[in-house]
């Protein structure tokens, strides 16, 4: 199962890299959102999936699942969700103000 998830994370990383290298703003933002999903999936997979009981005191078991990666992932998901929303709004405002959504046109001029 870990191997499968690592492969999925790799596929997501490559798709998101492709999207980030395109020129349209919306595709770049979507690429970054996918990039963070890939990183979260990898964080979950590399530290091992279900290895034992849930880490509660009343679960009498010889082995427990490590809860730390889940906590890290949750923190990171919240941050990347908020930032994706912010980037979408910022991209929309930039499009409304400048009229461009192509990164080539958003390069800026020498003297303004």
């Amino acid at each position: 199962m870990e191997t499968f998830m690592i492969v999925i994370a790799g596929v997501l990383f490559s798709i998101s890299t492709y999207l980030m290298l395109t020129r349209q703003l919306l595709r770049i933002i979507l690429g970054i959102a996918l990039f963070s999903h890939a990183a979260h999936l990898m964080l979950l997979a590399v530290s091992g999936l279900k290895r034992g009981a849930a880490p509660f005191v009343w679960e009498r078991s010889a082995e427990y699942t490590d809860p730390l990666p889940h906590a890290l992932m949750l923190t990171s998901i919240v941050i990347s969700f908020a930032l994706t929303a912010y980037a979408l709004v910022l991209g929309y405002r930039t499009y409304m103000e400048t009229g461009f959504e192509d990164m080539k046109q958003l390069k800026g001029t020498e003297h303004e």
């Binding site: 933002i29 970054i32 990039f35 963070s36 990898m42 890290l72 923190t75 910022l90 405002r93 103000e97």
Partner: protein
């Protein structure tokens, strides 16, 4: 256990929360901001004195013992950096009062500045590498808001690029943390240092350390500084001064911590990379400054090559 460690993080955060409710009272906001920075600077001064006398001060948040909970650690370096950051911040803040304009001050510029200081102080004082990521994000999110506040087309365009570059580097930070946790099984910096010293820093761990180097170079504008001149030219000069004084330096501090505390066993790879990138940054920054004919880009390139000097020192000395 020393509760003083949490003061430079908590006081700016509480000040920011209070300021949101005092939106129309700009003078109250200004007073609260200056007071919060003075209090954190005073706390850092006392902390530096205690660190000089008794060695490193630590605080286990929530009372969880060291490798399991989040640790705040203040040694002499961290305490002095917090002190310097808050004094520099106070100087910039006095200039912010007169120069950024009523409109920005009424639209939460002061709370965002306080959140920025909370993130900076937290990054200096944390002893847990994931917590470093969280404080980096706190600082960066405040800087995104400060950059785009005002909404002129040029400003929006530059802050969009800054946000996108930093989102990519933050995601790489998460990926590097995943590799590190999978191979070392801990995220507490002191514990990481012990474990990596025990098992040895082999090839994969060195590769992870280089991934950390890429992440911190993007944040510190070390060699990968292509985003900096545009982004630091967009906000009002006083805000750009805060950014120049604090944001890239937190990245340099992270490089210093990671490569002197955790990954110091393969200096012929990691420290050679630091020296090379530092030297390239110095040269390219100086050439970039020489090629400009306006004062703001020249100052922005000055930030770039000062980062080069700092990291070159870390590479040679570490």
């Amino acid at each position: 256990m020393n509760n003083l460690l949490v003061i430079p993080i908590l006081v700016p955060l509480l000040a920011a929360m209070a300021m949101v409710f005092l939106r129309r009272r700009i003078y109250a906001q200004r007073a609260a901001g200056a007071a919060a920075l003075l209090v954190s600077a005073a706390a850092a001064l006392v902390l530096a004195e205690q660190a000089a006398r008794n060695g490193m001060q630590t605080l286990q948040l929530g009372g969880w013992p060291a490798p399991f909970g989040i640790t705040l650690a203040g040694d002499m370096l961290a305490a002095l950096l917090v002190l310097t950051a808050n004094i520099a911040g106070l100087a910039c803040l006095l200039y912010v009062f007169g120069s950024i304009g009523r409109e920005r001050e009424a639209h939460y510029a002061h709370p965002f500045l306080m959140i920025l200081f909370c993130g900076v102080n937290g990054s200096f004082l944390t002893g847990d590498i994931f917590n470093l990521f969280v404080f980096f994000e706190v600082m960066l999110i405040a800087s995104y808001a400060l950059l785009s506040l005002g909404g002129r087309p040029g400003q929006l365009r530059e802050s969009l690029k800054y946000v996108l570059v930093n989102m990519v580097s933050s995601t790489l930070f998460v990926a590097a943390l995943a590799y590190l946790y999978a191979s070392a099984g801990t995220l507490n910096m002191a514990h990481l240092s012990e474990r990596i010293a025990a098992v040895g820093q082999d090839g994969p761990l060195t590769a992870v350390s280089l991934l950390f180097l890429v992440v911190f170079s993007l944040k510190a504008a070390l060699f990968l500084f292509f985003w900096l001149p545009g982004a630091y030219g967009a906000p009002p000069p006083a805000v750009a001064a805060v950014f120049a004084a604090l944001l890239t330096k937190v990245g340099v501090y992270a490089i210093l911590r990671v490569f002197t505390l955790i990954f110091y066993h393969q200096p012929h790879i990691t420290h050679t990379a630091l020296i090379g990138m530092g030297a390239a940054t110095m040269l390219l920054g100086a050439l970039g400054a020489a090629a400009q004919d306006r004062i703001r880009p020249i100052l922005a390139y000055n930030v770039v090559f000062s980062v080069g000097f700092a990291v070159f020192g870390i590479g040679v000395g570490g």
